[in-house]
Protein backbone atom coordinates (compact mmCIF):
# COMPACT_ATOMS: atom_id res chain seq x y z
CA UNK A 1 0.00 0.00 0.00
CA UNK A 2 2.44 2.62 -1.19
CA UNK A 3 1.53 6.21 -1.88
CA UNK A 4 1.55 5.58 -5.63
CA UNK A 5 -1.51 3.32 -5.25
CA UNK A 6 -3.59 6.06 -3.61
CA UNK A 7 -5.51 7.12 -6.79
CA UNK A 8 -6.50 3.50 -7.43
CA UNK A 9 -7.65 3.06 -3.84
CA UNK A 10 -9.78 6.21 -4.07
CA UNK A 11 -11.33 5.12 -7.37
CA UNK A 12 -12.17 1.78 -5.82
CA UNK A 13 -13.70 3.62 -2.85
CA UNK A 14 -15.93 5.53 -5.28
CA UNK A 15 -16.99 2.22 -6.81
CA UNK A 16 -17.89 0.89 -3.37
CA UNK A 17 -19.95 4.03 -2.65
CA UNK A 18 -21.93 3.52 -5.86
CA UNK A 19 -22.49 -0.13 -5.06
CA UNK A 20 -23.70 0.73 -1.56
CA UNK A 21 -26.23 3.18 -2.99
CA UNK A 22 -27.60 0.50 -5.34
CA UNK A 23 -27.89 -2.17 -2.67
CA UNK A 24 -28.94 -0.35 0.48
CA UNK A 25 -31.18 2.50 -0.64
CA UNK A 26 -34.97 2.37 -1.02
CA UNK A 27 -35.67 5.43 -3.11
CA UNK A 28 -35.52 4.73 -6.83
CA UNK A 29 -33.76 8.00 -7.65
CA UNK A 30 -31.00 7.23 -5.18
CA UNK A 31 -30.54 3.82 -6.80
CA UNK A 32 -30.22 5.55 -10.18
CA UNK A 33 -27.58 7.91 -8.78
CA UNK A 34 -25.75 4.85 -7.45
CA UNK A 35 -25.73 3.33 -10.94
CA UNK A 36 -24.27 6.56 -12.32
CA UNK A 37 -21.54 6.76 -9.68
CA UNK A 38 -20.60 3.13 -10.33
CA UNK A 39 -20.27 3.82 -14.05
CA UNK A 40 -18.12 6.90 -13.55
CA UNK A 41 -15.91 5.08 -11.03
CA UNK A 42 -15.22 2.36 -13.60
CA UNK A 43 -14.36 4.98 -16.24
CA UNK A 44 -12.04 6.76 -13.81
CA UNK A 45 -10.26 3.51 -13.02
CA UNK A 46 -9.71 2.88 -16.75
CA UNK A 47 -8.21 6.33 -17.28
CA UNK A 48 -5.95 5.89 -14.26
CA UNK A 49 -4.55 2.67 -15.70
CA UNK A 50 -3.13 4.61 -18.64
CA UNK A 51 -0.84 6.78 -16.52
CA UNK A 52 2.85 6.23 -16.92
CA UNK A 53 6.03 8.11 -16.09
CA UNK A 54 8.52 8.69 -18.91
CA UNK A 55 11.55 6.41 -18.89
CA UNK A 56 13.89 9.38 -19.29
CA UNK A 57 12.54 11.08 -16.17
CA UNK A 58 10.53 14.22 -15.77
CA UNK A 59 6.79 14.84 -15.67
CA UNK A 60 4.43 13.17 -18.18
CA UNK A 61 2.29 15.34 -20.45
CA UNK A 62 -1.13 14.94 -22.03
CA UNK A 63 -1.05 13.11 -25.40
CA UNK A 64 -2.03 16.10 -27.54
CA UNK A 65 0.12 16.89 -30.56
CA UNK A 66 0.58 20.66 -30.67
CA UNK A 67 3.77 21.06 -32.60
CA UNK A 68 2.93 19.25 -35.81
CA UNK A 69 3.65 15.82 -37.20
CA UNK A 70 7.42 16.08 -36.87
CA UNK A 71 7.18 16.17 -33.06
CA UNK A 72 5.32 12.85 -32.81
CA UNK A 73 8.32 10.83 -31.62
CA UNK A 74 9.24 13.35 -28.95
CA UNK A 75 5.68 13.34 -27.70
CA UNK A 76 5.49 9.55 -27.63
CA UNK A 77 8.45 9.43 -25.25
CA UNK A 78 6.91 11.67 -22.56
CA UNK A 79 3.11 11.38 -22.94
CA UNK A 80 0.69 9.16 -21.06
CA UNK A 81 -1.09 6.36 -22.87
CA UNK A 82 -3.85 7.82 -25.08
CA UNK A 83 -5.70 4.59 -25.90
CA UNK A 84 -7.51 4.20 -22.53
CA UNK A 85 -8.66 7.80 -22.83
CA UNK A 86 -10.09 7.22 -26.30
CA UNK A 87 -11.96 4.11 -25.15
CA UNK A 88 -13.31 5.84 -22.03
CA UNK A 89 -14.81 8.54 -24.29
CA UNK A 90 -17.11 5.95 -25.82
CA UNK A 91 -17.78 4.43 -22.42
CA UNK A 92 -19.01 7.76 -21.08
CA UNK A 93 -21.54 8.04 -23.90
CA UNK A 94 -22.65 4.47 -23.22
CA UNK A 95 -23.20 5.50 -19.60
CA UNK A 96 -25.38 8.32 -20.86
CA UNK A 97 -27.52 5.86 -22.82
CA UNK A 98 -27.86 3.57 -19.79
CA UNK A 99 -28.94 6.62 -17.74
CA UNK A 100 -31.63 7.45 -20.29
CA UNK A 101 -32.97 3.90 -20.19
CA UNK A 102 -33.03 3.72 -16.38
CA UNK A 103 -34.72 7.14 -16.08
CA UNK A 104 -37.37 6.06 -18.59
CA UNK A 105 -38.04 2.98 -16.45
CA UNK A 106 -38.29 5.18 -13.35
CA UNK A 107 -40.81 7.49 -15.06
CA UNK A 108 -42.92 4.52 -16.05
CA UNK A 109 -42.76 2.99 -12.55
CA UNK A 110 -43.82 6.29 -11.01
CA UNK A 111 -46.79 6.52 -13.32
CA UNK A 112 -47.86 3.00 -12.50
CA UNK A 113 -47.39 3.02 -8.72
CA UNK A 114 -47.43 6.69 -7.78
CA UNK A 115 -44.37 6.40 -5.56
CA UNK A 116 -40.60 6.04 -5.77
CA UNK A 117 -40.31 3.71 -2.78
CA UNK A 118 -39.23 0.23 -3.85
CA UNK A 119 -40.55 -1.40 -0.68
CA UNK A 120 -44.05 -0.19 -1.50
CA UNK A 121 -43.70 -1.42 -5.05
CA UNK A 122 -43.65 -4.98 -3.83
CA UNK A 123 -46.93 -4.63 -1.94
CA UNK A 124 -49.13 -2.67 -4.31
CA UNK A 125 -51.10 -4.56 -6.88
CA UNK A 126 -50.94 -1.88 -9.60
Amino acid sequence: MTLAMLPFILAFLLLVVGLYAIVAKRNLIKIIVGILVLDYAANLLLVLMGYRTPPAGGAPVAPILTGGAHEADALAATAVDPIPQALVLTSIVIGLSVTALVVALAIRLYEKYGTFDTNLMRNLKG
Binding site: G68, A69, A100, V103, Y110
Partner: protein
Protein backbone atom coordinates in the same frame (compact mmCIF):
# COMPACT_ATOMS: atom_id res chain seq x y z
CA UNK B 1 -44.46 21.12 -23.43
CA UNK B 2 -44.81 24.70 -24.58
CA UNK B 3 -42.07 26.81 -26.00
CA UNK B 4 -40.10 29.32 -24.03
CA UNK B 5 -40.14 33.13 -24.03
CA UNK B 6 -39.28 35.37 -26.97
CA UNK B 7 -35.76 36.01 -25.69
CA UNK B 8 -34.97 32.29 -25.61
CA UNK B 9 -36.43 31.76 -29.07
CA UNK B 10 -34.41 34.61 -30.61
CA UNK B 11 -31.14 33.49 -29.04
CA UNK B 12 -31.82 29.89 -30.08
CA UNK B 13 -32.33 30.98 -33.69
CA UNK B 14 -28.90 32.62 -33.59
CA UNK B 15 -27.01 29.95 -31.68
CA UNK B 16 -28.40 26.58 -32.80
CA UNK B 17 -26.61 26.64 -36.14
CA UNK B 18 -23.28 27.20 -34.43
CA UNK B 19 -23.89 24.32 -32.02
CA UNK B 20 -24.59 21.93 -34.91
CA UNK B 21 -21.52 23.27 -36.72
CA UNK B 22 -19.37 22.69 -33.65
CA UNK B 23 -20.69 19.14 -33.35
CA UNK B 24 -19.88 18.50 -37.02
CA UNK B 25 -16.36 19.89 -36.48
CA UNK B 26 -15.75 17.54 -33.53
CA UNK B 27 -16.98 14.58 -35.63
CA UNK B 28 -14.96 15.36 -38.76
CA UNK B 29 -11.68 16.18 -36.95
CA UNK B 30 -11.93 13.08 -34.77
CA UNK B 31 -8.70 11.59 -36.02
CA UNK B 32 -6.70 14.76 -35.21
CA UNK B 33 -8.13 16.29 -32.04
CA UNK B 34 -9.82 14.69 -29.02
CA UNK B 35 -13.39 13.76 -29.82
CA UNK B 36 -14.65 11.66 -32.67
CA UNK B 37 -18.02 10.14 -33.41
CA UNK B 38 -19.41 9.67 -29.91
CA UNK B 39 -18.80 13.09 -28.42
CA UNK B 40 -19.68 14.92 -31.65
CA UNK B 41 -22.96 12.99 -31.80
CA UNK B 42 -23.79 13.98 -28.23
CA UNK B 43 -23.18 17.66 -29.08
CA UNK B 44 -25.39 17.34 -32.18
CA UNK B 45 -28.19 15.78 -30.12
CA UNK B 46 -27.82 18.57 -27.56
CA UNK B 47 -28.22 21.24 -30.21
CA UNK B 48 -31.35 19.59 -31.62
CA UNK B 49 -32.76 19.14 -28.12
CA UNK B 50 -32.20 22.86 -27.48
CA UNK B 51 -34.28 23.73 -30.55
CA UNK B 52 -37.12 21.43 -29.48
CA UNK B 53 -37.07 22.79 -25.92
CA UNK B 54 -37.14 26.41 -27.05
CA UNK B 55 -39.86 26.13 -29.69
CA UNK B 56 -42.20 23.66 -28.00
CA UNK B 57 -43.44 20.23 -28.87
CA UNK B 58 -45.23 21.37 -32.04
CA UNK B 59 -41.83 21.84 -33.61
CA UNK B 60 -40.94 18.29 -32.61
CA UNK B 61 -44.12 16.97 -34.22
CA UNK B 62 -43.90 18.81 -37.52
CA UNK B 63 -40.29 19.54 -38.41
CA UNK B 64 -37.82 17.48 -36.33
CA UNK B 65 -40.03 14.43 -35.96
CA UNK B 66 -39.30 11.05 -34.46
CA UNK B 67 -39.32 9.47 -37.91
CA UNK B 68 -36.34 11.62 -38.92
CA UNK B 69 -34.53 10.37 -35.82
CA UNK B 70 -35.25 6.78 -36.88
CA UNK B 71 -34.03 7.45 -40.42
CA UNK B 72 -30.80 9.00 -39.13
CA UNK B 73 -30.28 6.10 -36.75
CA UNK B 74 -30.55 3.43 -39.45
CA UNK B 75 -28.54 5.46 -41.99
CA UNK B 76 -25.66 5.73 -39.53
CA UNK B 77 -25.69 2.00 -38.83
CA UNK B 78 -25.89 1.13 -42.55
CA UNK B 79 -23.02 3.48 -43.40
CA UNK B 80 -20.83 1.86 -40.76
CA UNK B 81 -21.73 -1.60 -42.09
CA UNK B 82 -20.97 -0.38 -45.64
CA UNK B 83 -17.49 0.73 -44.55
CA UNK B 84 -16.90 -2.69 -42.96
CA UNK B 85 -18.19 -4.70 -45.95
CA UNK B 86 -16.24 -2.57 -48.45
CA UNK B 87 -13.13 -3.82 -46.71
CA UNK B 88 -13.51 -6.88 -48.93
CA UNK B 89 -12.07 -4.68 -51.69
CA UNK B 90 -8.78 -4.90 -49.83
CA UNK B 91 -9.22 -8.60 -49.21
CA UNK B 92 -10.23 -8.90 -45.55
CA UNK B 93 -13.45 -7.88 -43.80
CA UNK B 94 -13.19 -4.39 -42.26
CA UNK B 95 -9.70 -3.74 -43.57
CA UNK B 96 -8.54 -0.30 -44.57
CA UNK B 97 -8.91 0.42 -48.29
CA UNK B 98 -8.54 4.21 -48.44
CA UNK B 99 -5.08 5.81 -48.67
CA UNK B 100 -3.42 6.65 -45.38
CA UNK B 101 -2.06 10.15 -45.88
CA UNK B 102 0.40 12.18 -43.87
CA UNK B 103 0.02 12.57 -40.11
CA UNK B 104 -1.89 15.72 -39.24
CA UNK B 105 -3.74 16.34 -42.50
CA UNK B 106 -7.52 16.39 -42.59
CA UNK B 107 -7.83 13.94 -45.50
CA UNK B 108 -5.85 11.07 -44.00
CA UNK B 109 -6.10 8.02 -41.74
CA UNK B 110 -7.96 5.76 -44.19
CA UNK B 111 -11.52 4.77 -43.25
CA UNK B 112 -11.46 6.38 -39.78
CA UNK B 113 -13.14 9.70 -40.79
CA UNK B 114 -15.94 7.79 -42.58
CA UNK B 115 -16.48 5.63 -39.48
CA UNK B 116 -16.51 8.76 -37.34
CA UNK B 117 -19.15 10.31 -39.60
CA UNK B 118 -21.35 7.20 -39.40
CA UNK B 119 -21.09 7.01 -35.62
CA UNK B 120 -21.71 10.77 -35.25
CA UNK B 121 -24.92 10.56 -37.28
CA UNK B 122 -26.11 7.49 -35.40
CA UNK B 123 -25.37 8.78 -31.91
CA UNK B 124 -26.87 12.20 -32.64
CA UNK B 125 -30.06 10.80 -34.13
CA UNK B 126 -30.35 8.10 -31.47
CA UNK B 127 -29.97 10.42 -28.49
CA UNK B 128 -32.34 12.95 -30.05
CA UNK B 129 -34.86 10.15 -30.56
CA UNK B 130 -34.53 9.18 -26.89
CA UNK B 131 -35.10 12.81 -25.89
CA UNK B 132 -38.20 13.12 -28.08
CA UNK B 133 -39.63 9.83 -26.80
CA UNK B 134 -39.14 10.88 -23.18
CA UNK B 135 -40.36 14.46 -23.40
CA UNK B 136 -42.79 14.79 -26.27
CA UNK B 137 -44.82 11.61 -26.50
CA UNK B 138 -48.12 11.86 -24.72
CA UNK B 139 -48.50 9.27 -22.01
CA UNK B 140 -51.66 7.62 -20.76
CA UNK B 141 -52.89 8.38 -17.25
CA UNK B 142 -51.23 6.73 -14.28
CA UNK B 143 -53.01 4.31 -11.94
CA UNK B 144 -56.09 2.17 -12.61
CA UNK B 145 -55.10 0.94 -16.05
CA UNK B 146 -54.45 -2.50 -17.42
CA UNK B 147 -50.82 -3.59 -17.71
CA UNK B 148 -51.32 -3.80 -21.46
CA UNK B 149 -51.57 -0.05 -21.98
CA UNK B 150 -48.22 1.53 -22.55
CA UNK B 151 -46.59 4.72 -23.79
CA UNK B 152 -48.07 5.69 -27.12
CA UNK B 153 -46.92 8.28 -29.65
CA UNK B 154 -49.34 11.01 -30.51
CA UNK B 155 -51.30 11.14 -33.76
Amino acid sequence: MQGMSLIVKTVTRLVAGFIVLFGAYIVLYGHLTPGGGFTGGVILAGGLALVVLAFGEDYARNVLTHSWARVGDTMGALLFLLVAVLGFVGGVFFTNFLPVGAVGRLVSAGTIPVSNLAIGIKVGAGLFGVFVALAVFRRTAAGGQEPGQSIEPDA
